[in-house]
Each structure stands twice: as structure tokens, then as C-alpha cells.
């Protein structure tokens, strides 16, 4: 097998590898800015310099040549090489900054040059704390600057588009953003303008950078040149917790990170998953952070004499139990939801099955025209396939509306059926409507009983995307009944670890009075004398895996290990375009 020697260690490899990527994959480091694994390598930042050479092999024997000391003879390339576009070759010898002074010096020289026209105002820059330039300068840069002449000045605070702001002075011309619009989103909206040290990225004059994927350029900008108009200056990165999650605003199941501070989700960024979304996500999904914070239902609500009032949990549970008991089973319709997780749907169905109610039905949530052939599908619900795989009956709009017409008690699991015009408020008027919901909506508004449940940011649960991949969320945000410090799975940020009660960012206000669906089901079952004791999503998934054949082999551990699991779905059910 071909072999390569990096900093004196021997590694075998197969296939084609860029040396920089190879080194990174080994868990080692060479600093760089312009390289991005999903785009072409222009080698323009010149930061990833390494010393490269080749062990000489004898033409006749094919053996390595050795010198008089028995050491292998190396023919060094005449110049240092950028490792991002250097292809690994058999017998190649690479020295990085770890072992070679010349390389170390070259990287330091290059950083000095990058910094001469870059504002040295990290403390007021929004990128500080997650800035590759800042980090690499600390690690590999010069200790001071010898630049004592005037910097080049360029436009600042340019609203490039509705979501992206440019500070051209911070730009180091890595061209990641322009390459993104050329190679990934293919809108070709950005170009570098001018020439030499006056260069900076821009749109065509008078045009907006309204690329539906524009915010990815903010993610990949290695400096503070491109920032999110919405997020900039809202929070320091070190004040936030980063929690892996799944985009629940679309069926594609884009892998994301939720960034939390004081129990508010402040932003959403894409998380790499080669099977789903690579490094990218649509701008649309980023808005979703608001649904975790705003307009939430906190504490159960009940309609008394046509008036919505807050209710106690006990009262709410008892009310629903009584309604079910008082209604003819044939007159109860249970509506499962493609907007709720597999575990929530399962928990509800287990309860209603034990009560021998009609099996849950659901209707998919398709919005024609949303799909773009990239990371958005027409199916805008995160778990349509989950409902299908659980064996729930899928009804179209008119069929489900007919079911509802026949019923006296309508139980809806987190699906805004009125808002999305599946049923009208009028059709529900004379029925008792109980909803389990995360956010206020028209549907919740007309409901007689509203039981607040956790969002994807507050529970660990699974969703099956349009392509049949099951992936799960993690708890990113505390509810009134959870505590980050005793929940081992919740991420702990600097503030959690070192903050005190006197720190002004710690408030109780942002914790929602809601519960995971399965805990509510436990309580409902208890009230009905049934034996259901769900502990958490992890256990429920184990139970599903052993009882529903479609999910066999699925577990949280397996999903974590494999970044989701591909389930077999019927081809025609996939709405991914």
C-alpha cells in the first residue's frame, strides 16, 4: 500500500488525498484559511505551507535509495508547498510546523502579512472567539506587527443582502464566499471586485445577496468579514452552549447546532453530515430558533365559558382523562403528527391503544414549491416518514377532515391543522378539542384544552427525514422541570461551569412550563389506571426498536455513532426532489 511520512510518522493510504485533508483526518493540524473540503482549493491564502519531499527509489530495484549513513535519500521540492492542493504520493515526506523551523517561519510570515491590513480590533469584532484568524494567530502568528504605515481602508457595515453584512476591511480574500455562490448554491451572486490589496467580495451593483443559502457564507468566512445581520453582536460565542440537533422546519432533516445562552436559542448553524446536508443549510431553517423562544405555550390552558384560562397540570390531565372516558370511543379521533418526533407519536399511540381508542391517523404537510432540489423538500414536516414507519394511517386533507367531522373529541398532537387549513375553526366548533402543542397558533387558540409540550430543543427525540434517515435531537434548553447541571447529556458552557447566581445572564424567565409528551402520557395513563412508565426518549426508542420492525436496530447510541441511520422506506413515499 502507498505510504506517506508526516513529521517522521509513517501512514498508509489508498486513493487520492490532498495532504492537508489527510493531515486533518489524522487529527493533526496545519493552519489554513481558504481551503474548504467541499469546494475547490484555490491555494490563495498560502497559510498551509509544508515542506515536502520524496524518498528516492532506485529505478532498477524499486527499493528506497540510502545514503552512506543508511538514511533514505530525500529529494525536497525546491519551494515550500501549500498542502491544500498537494496530492499525497507514495514515498512522500512531509514536514509541518511541528517539526520544521522553515515551515514554522513561513506560516508566521504569512500571518504577519494577512494581518497588516486586517483591523486588529478583535475585542469589538463579532467573530472573536470563533475566528480561525484569531485562533491561528495565537497559535502560529508573530508576536507583534512591524507594520507602521497606513492600512488600506474599505467599506464597512455593508448590508450585502437581507441576512448578511460585510465588513470588507476584515476580509482576507480567501474567496470561500464567492466560491460558495459559484460552486454550491450556484446563484453566482458574489464576486471579488477591484484588484490587489483593494480586493473585496461584493454583489453586482444594486443587487442584493438574497441567495436562499446566503448565511452559509457567514459560517465559512474565516474572519469577521461576513456576519449574520440577525445574530451579529447578540452574544459572544463563549457565552453560548452548542448542542447538536435536527432542523424541524423541513423534511430534509438538515443537521444543525443550536446555540443557547440563558435558555434562549440565539442562532442555528449547520452541522456536517455527508449523508444529508454536507456542511450546509438553507437560510430558512435558521429562522427557526425563534420558535423555541417566542410565542411558546407555558402552562396548560383550558377554555372556561369560552374564555382561555391557565390551568394546573393536574387539572389538565384530569380533564383530558374525563373527556376520553365520557366520550364514545368511536367518537374520538386521535391525530398523530409529522411535526412531532417518533417517540412522542409512539407514546401517544401506546396510550390510546391501551385505551382501545381508534388508531391514530395523520396527514402529511406538503407545501408545493418549497423544495429546491438541494436542502429543502416540499414536505415541510420533519417526521412524516416516522409516522408512516410507526404504521399510522395516512389520510389526505379531505379524509382527515371527514374523520374530524364524525368525532366529538378531537385529540391533536402538535400539528397546526387549522393554521394549515386542513380543518376550519368552524368544523371544530362543537367538539371538544384537546391539543398537545409547543407554540401558540390558531389551532391552539380554538382548542378547549391546551397541554404544552417540549420542542425539539428541549427533548432528545428522533425524526425520520424524507429520505428515510432517522436522526435525533439533544436537549439544548432547560424547561421549568429540567436542570442542565444534573442532566449529563446537556452541554455545559463556560457560564454553566463558572457562572454564579449573581451573574446577570442567569434568569428563570426563559424556562418554559412544559413537559415532554411521554411524561404527560405517563400521567394520563396513571390517571386511567394504565401501566405506562416512559423515562426518556432513549428508552422509548429501545422499546420501539424491539416492538416495531421498521425500527429494528435503531437506538440513540447507534444514531450517535453513525450520524443517523438509514431506514428502508417505500420509494414513492420519499418526497425529496
Amino acid at each position: 500500500m502507498p505510504e506517506i511520512f508526516i513529521d517522521g510518522h509513517r501512514y498508509e493510504f489508498e486513493g487520492e488525498h490532498k495532504v492537508l485533508q489527510f493531515i486533518q483526518d489524522l487529527g493533526k493540524e496545519v493552519p489554513f484559511f481558504c481551503y474548504h473540503p467541499s469546494m475547490t482549493a484555490p491555494a490563495n491564502c498560502r497559510q498551509c505551507m509544508v515542506k515536502a519531499g520524496q524518498y528516492m527509489k532506485s529505478r532498477e530495484t524499486g527499493e528506497y535509495e540510502v545514503d552512506e549513513n543508511g538514511d533514505r535519500v530525500i529529494r525536497w521540492f525546491p519551494k515550500l508547498q501549500t498542502s491544500c492542493n498537494l496530492m499525497a504520493a507514495d514515498g512522500m515526506v512531509i514536514l509541518t510546523q511541528e517539526t520544521d523551523e522553515q515551515v514554522k517561519r513561513a506560516q508566521k510570515d504569512n500571518l504577519e502579512l494577512i494581518l497588516i491590513n486586517h483591523p486588529l480590533d478583535c475585542p469589538i469584532c463579532d467573530q472573536a472567539g470563533e475566528c480561525p484568524l484569531q485562533i491561528q494567530t495565537y497559535k502560529y502568528g508573530p508576536e507583534g506587527s512591524r507594520f507602521e504605515v497606513k492600512k488600506v481602508h474599505k467599506p464597512k457595515r455593508v448590508q450585502l443582502g437581507p441576512r448578511v453584512v460585510l465588513d470588507a476591511e476584515r476580509c482576507i480574500n480567501c474567496t470561500r464566499c464567492t466560491r460558495f455562490t459559484q460552486e454550491i448554491s450556484k446563484t453566482h451572486q458574489l464576486t471579488i471586485t477591484s484588484r490587489g490589496d483593494k480586493n473585496y467580495p461584493t454583489t453586482a451593483p444594486g443587487r442584493e445577496f438574497d441567495d436562499p443559502y446566503s448565511l452559509n457564507t457567514v459560517d465559512i468566512c474565516p474572519v469577521g468579514a461576513l456576519t449574520s445581520a440577525d445574530f451579529r453582536f447578540k452574544a459572544r460565542v463563549w457565552e453560548m452552549n452548542q448542542t447538536p440537533s435536527i432542523d424541524i422546519t423541513n423534511g430534509k432533516g438538515t443537521n444543525i447546532d443550536l446555540w443557547t445562552r440563558d435558555n434562549l436559542i440565539l442562532r442555528v448553524t449547520p452541522r456536517f453530515n455527508s449523508e444529508v446536508n454536507d456542511h450546509w443549510m438553507p437560510d430558512a431553517g435558521r429562522e427557526a430558533y425563534k420558535i423555541f423562544n417566542e410565542n411558546r405555550i407555558s402552562r396548560p390552558q383550558q377554555k372556561l365559558d369560552g374564555e382561555k384560562v391557565l390551568s394546573s397540570w393536574n387539572n389538565a390531565i384530569a380533564t383530558l382523562g374525563e373527556q376520553i372516558e365520557d366520550t364514545d370511543n368511536a367518537k374520538i379521533v386521535v391525530i398523530a403528527s409529522p411535526h412531532a418526533s417518533v417517540e412522542e407519536n409512539y407514546a401517544l399511540s401506546k396510550y390510546t391503544n391501551l385505551l382501545r381508542l381508534n388508531a391514530p391517523v395523520f396527514t402529511s404537510h406538503i407545501e408545493e414549491g418549497t423544495g429546491d432540489g438541494f436542502l429543502l423538500s416540499d414536505d415541510v414536516a420533519p417526521n412524516t416518514n416516522g409516522c408512516r414507519l410507526l404504521g399510522f394511517k395516512e389520510l389526505d386533507k379531505s379524509a382527515i377532515s371527514k374523520e374530524i367531522q364524525k368525532a366529538e373529541l378531537v385529540i391533536i398532537l402538535n400539528d397546526n391543522l387549522v393554521d394549515r387549513s386542513v380543518v376550519s375553526a368552524d368544523q371544530l366548533k362543537d367538539k371538544f378539542v384537546a391539543v398537545f402543542a409547543t407554540n401558540n397558533s390558531e389551532t391552539a387558540e380554538i382548542a378547549d384544552l391546551v397541554i404544552p409540550i417540549t420542542t425539539a430543543a428541549e427533548h432528545a427525540a428522533s425524526y425520520v427525514n424524507v429520505d428515510g434517515r432517522i436522526q435525533r435531537t439533544y436537549r439544548a434548553k432547560e424547561t421549568k422541570y429540567t436542570n442542565r447541571r444534573i442532566d449529563l447529556e446537556m452541554s455545559e458552557g463556560r457560564l454553566d461551569r463558572y457562572g454564579t447566581n449573581f451573574d446577570n445572564w442567569v434568569t428563570e424567565d426563559n424556562k418554559i412550563d412544559c413537559m415532554p409528551m411521554w411524561e404527560i402520557v405517563n400521567n394520563l395513563a396513571d390517571a386511567a389506571g394504565l401501566d405506562i412508565n416512559f423515562k426518556d426518549g432513549r428508552e422509548i426508542m429501545d422499546e420501539i426498536a424491539s416492538s416495531v420492525s421498521n425500527f429494528s436496530g435503531v437506538s440513540f447510541a447507534a444514531m450517535d455513532e453513525q450520524a443517523g441511520i438509514q431506514l428502508s422506506i417505500k420509494k414513492e413515499t420519499s418526497t425529496s426532489k
Partner: protein
């Protein structure tokens, strides 16, 4: 060192023939004979490979500045696969001090066209582009005319001179960017993009224009091909300096009485060349010479004894032949001003694609401006020298080197003059 007999040399690229730019005059004087020979004389030229071999043997070292054997470059083209292959002729000449190819466009365009056609035949090229800097609008028009005349006469187009060889020939105008003289940047510009040099490998012979095999040659280089085919490789390689043979278009500018382009053999002594150009203006003394365009290291007058205009001789005193665009400076020349102006040029022309050049060229200029204005300090000179090492060999193309060399060598060779312009006082302590 044998001296080159340049006094009895008769120009071949730019001979003293009236209206040679007209195709009829050109053909009357033996024009397109070489093309005819390679296309039709199968006894003499077995095929394209034979032409490549002859040119390789002639050792035409690229006249664009890099000095690489043109025939050898041609031999890097992969075997023809039926797809398009390109010849890109580099007429972007923009290196300060260089103004020779325009003479070919003006006075003898067909010797170049013929050479390019032979090159195209030799490399089985399907389309030729000649990239001419946009400022040469007059010469672009002249070339358009010459190419159209050659089309009319059947030297370009389908089945040239009844052979199976067909090729198209187009002019592509630049629009003001020195960097487009860099061969891969020129390809980008031809493809309609910002002139950013390409990362190599892949080399143009593998992936050039539109990802297809492409060779890039300088105008003068290609023009010499015609003579090599007509008179043989030996004829060419016996002219001038043996290791860098053939006629050279010397562009002489600066403080001489008769500046201009002179066609002479390679290897003319530098001091003789100044005499060829009428000697020093106003009877002043010679101070310095930049031998081959602004990027080639400057030489002091006292370094020039016995030095000839060829790469070997110039290397002995630490310089290069470059484009043979020689800039002559007299005793009144302010080397600080000159170096600042050169640095200004490279700063202005850096494409900005890669870091060391984009940032370094500006920094060099700014420090030199400070020194020029009398605000510099001696430590700035050392900073400048250090910066050159941070730029050289670290970039995608050679513009950073071209910007760094003049700084390094001008300071080293005229250090006293630079120090004299610097502030002498120590920094005040309080």
C-alpha cells in the same frame, strides 16, 4: 569569452524592408515558405514531431522572460486525442522596460503569424489565440488586418495550402492588467475572467484553456520559429551566445540618446548596447542598468565590464536577461525614487489573489514611500529586505518574486544611497 560578432548582423525579424507588414511584400520576400515546407515537403518534415525536434534543437529560449526552451515546452503537449488543443500567443508585454513585440505586430506581423501556424502544426493545435494588451489598440487593429489577409490567402483556415492541417486564429484584447502576461493568468483572461494566475499543477499542457491542452509562447519566440524552419536549427543556434542563442529584440530605454528596439544577436556586451542606442544622454556618466525589464536585478555601472546580454553572463553578476528590455540610468538618477516607482508598479498590478503578494507589494511600496519622503529609518531597509524573503517563492505566480527582487537588489547594491535618505536621529527617549 568569445565576443559575439554583432556589428555585421543583419536583422531577420525586423529587416529594413519597406511595407513588410503587407502580406504581398512578405510573401515576395520569402514569406510563408517555411509554413509551406512543413505542410507539404514530406521528405524534409516527416510530420509534426519532426518540427518539434528541430525547434527543440534550435534552443529558442522563451523571449517572454523565463527563457525556457520553446521546443521542449512544445514536447510537453500530450498526444492528440481528437479534441481541441490551443496555442495562446502572449502579446501582453507589460513589464516596464519592455516594448519589443509591438514592433513585430507593426513591422512584420506575418513572421509571427507564420511561426505560430508552424507551432500549431507541430503541436496539432486546433485554435490559436493571440492575446494582446488592450493598450496596444493600434497593433490589435494591425494584427486583425494581417490575420484576415492570411485567411484570405489560405494560410489560415481549413486545409491550409491543400494539406490536412486546419487551424483558426483569433485576436483577444486585454484591458489593462500586467498580470495577464503571466501565462495562466492570461488563460483566465482569455476565458473571460479576472486575471488570477492558476495553481500549478495541472500545467497548461495538461489542462489549459477550457481544460484542454494548451501551449503559451511569447510573440518574439514564435516569430523565431519561422527562421528556424527556413534556415535550420544550426543556423539559429550559431547566432549569438551559445547557451542562449539567436537574435534578440533589445528594447533600450532610459538615459540614452537613441532609445528604441534593436535586433541583434544575443550576447551583445551591455556597454556596447548602450553605444548602439547612441550612448549616454547629455554626456552623463552611466550609473546603473536594469538589463531585462523592471523585475530583473539592477546592476551598477562598475559591475558591467565584460558582461554580455545573455543569461549566463548576467547570472555571474546576479541578474537576468528577462525580456531584454534594458533600462539605462545616468549619474543623476535617484535610486530611491526609481525603486519606489518600481514597487508602486507591482503594488498596482498585484492581482490580489494570494496573500504574500497582495499584502507584501503594498507594504513594500509604503515603506519605500516613507523613505523617499525622508521619513524612513535605517531599520526600514532591513525590514524591506526581510519582507522580500517573506514574499519570494511563497505565491501562486512569480509576481511576488518580480516585486521582491528589485527591492532586494537595489537596496543591496545602492545601500549607501538609501541610508543617506533615512533619518539618522535616534528615537527620543522621553
Amino acid at each position: 569569452m568569445s565576443t559575439v560578432d554583432w556589428k555585421n548582423y543583419t536583422p531577420v525579424l525586423l529587416p529594413d524592408i519597406k511595407d513588410l507588414h503587407k502580406i504581398d511584400v512578405y510573401t515576395k520576400n520569402g514569406g510563408y515558405k517555411a509554413l509551406k515546407s512543413v505542410l507539404t515537403d514530406k521528405k524534409k518534415w516527416e510530420g509534426p514531431k519532426a518540427v518539434v525536434e528541430e525547434v527543440k534543437k534550435a534552443n529558442i529560449r522563451g523571449r517572454g522572460g523565463a527563457g525556457f526552451n520553446a521546443g521542449l515546452k512544445w514536447s510537453f503537449m500530450p498526444p492528440a486525442d481528437g479534441g481541441p488543443r490551443y496555442l495562446a500567443c502572449n502579446g501582453d508585454e507589460s513589464e516596464p522596460g519592455t516594448f519589443k513585440d509591438r514592433k513585430i505586430f507593426e513591422y512584420n506581423p506575418h513572421v509571427f503569424i507564420e511561426g505560430a501556424l508552424i507551432a500549431a502544426y507541430a503541436m496539432e493545435i486546433t485554435t490559436i489565440y493571440v492575446y494582446i494588451r488592450g493598450e496596444y489598440k493600434t497593433y490589435i487593429d494591425m494584427m486583425e488586418k494581417a490575420i484576415s489577409d492570411a485567411y484570405d490567402k489560405g494560410y489560415i483556415g481549413k486545409n491550409i495550402l491543400g494539406s490536412k492541417f486546419s487551424v483558426d486564429f483569433y485576436v483577444h484584447s486585454g484591458a489593462g492588467a500586467y498580470i495577464c502576461g503571466e501565462e495562466t493568468s492570461m488563460l483566465e483572461s482569455l476565458e473571460g475572467k479576472r486575471g488570477y494566475p492558476r495553481v500549478k499543477p495541472p500545467f497548461p499542457a495538461q489542462k489549459g484553456l477550457w481544460g484542454r491542452p494548451t501551449t503559451i509562447n511569447n510573440i518574439e519566440t514564435l516569430s523565431h520559429v519561422t527562421g528556424v524552419i527556413n534556415n535550420g536549427a544550426e543556423w539559429f543556434s550559431s547566432i549569438g551566445a551559445p547557451t542562449h542563442p539567436g537574435p534578440v529584440l533589445y528594447g533600450i530605454s532610459g538615459h540614452v540618446n537613441n532609445p528604441g528596439v534593436y535586433e541583434l544577436p544575443s550576447g551583445v556586451p551591455v556597454l556596447d548596447l548602450i553605444e548602439v542606442a547612441g550612448g549616454m544622454r547629455n554626456g552623463k556618466k552611466l550609473k546603473a542598468v536594469i538589463p531585462g525589464g523592471s523585475s530583473t536585478p539592477v546592476l551598477r555601472a562598475d559591475q558591467l565590464d565584460g558582461i554580455t546580454m545573455d543569461s549566463d553572463s548576467l547570472r555571474t553578476v546576479g541578474s537576468m536577461l528577462g525580456t531584454a528590455g534594458m533600462v539605462v540610468m545616468d549619474e543623476d538618477t535617484d535610486m530611491v525614487d526609481v525603486l519606489w516607482r518600481i514597487a508602486h508598479f507591482y503594488h498596482h498590478e498585484s492581482c490580489g489573489q494570494c496573500t504574500p503578494c497582495r499584502e507584501g507589494t503594498g507594504w513594500l511600496e509604503k515603506i519605500l514611500l516613507k523613505i523617499k519622503n525622508g521619513d524612513g529609518e535605517v531599520r526600514d531597509l532591513d525590514l524591506l529586505l526581510d519582507l522580500t524573503t517573506q514574499m519570494e517563492g511563497r505565491t501562486i505566480c512569480a509576481l511576488a518574486d518580480a516585486a521582491a527582487w528589485p527591492v532586494r537588489f537595489t537596496i543591496n547594491r545602492f545601500r549607501d544611497e538609501f541610508e543617506a535618505r533615512c533619518i539618522k536621529k535616534a528615537h527620543a527617549v522621553a
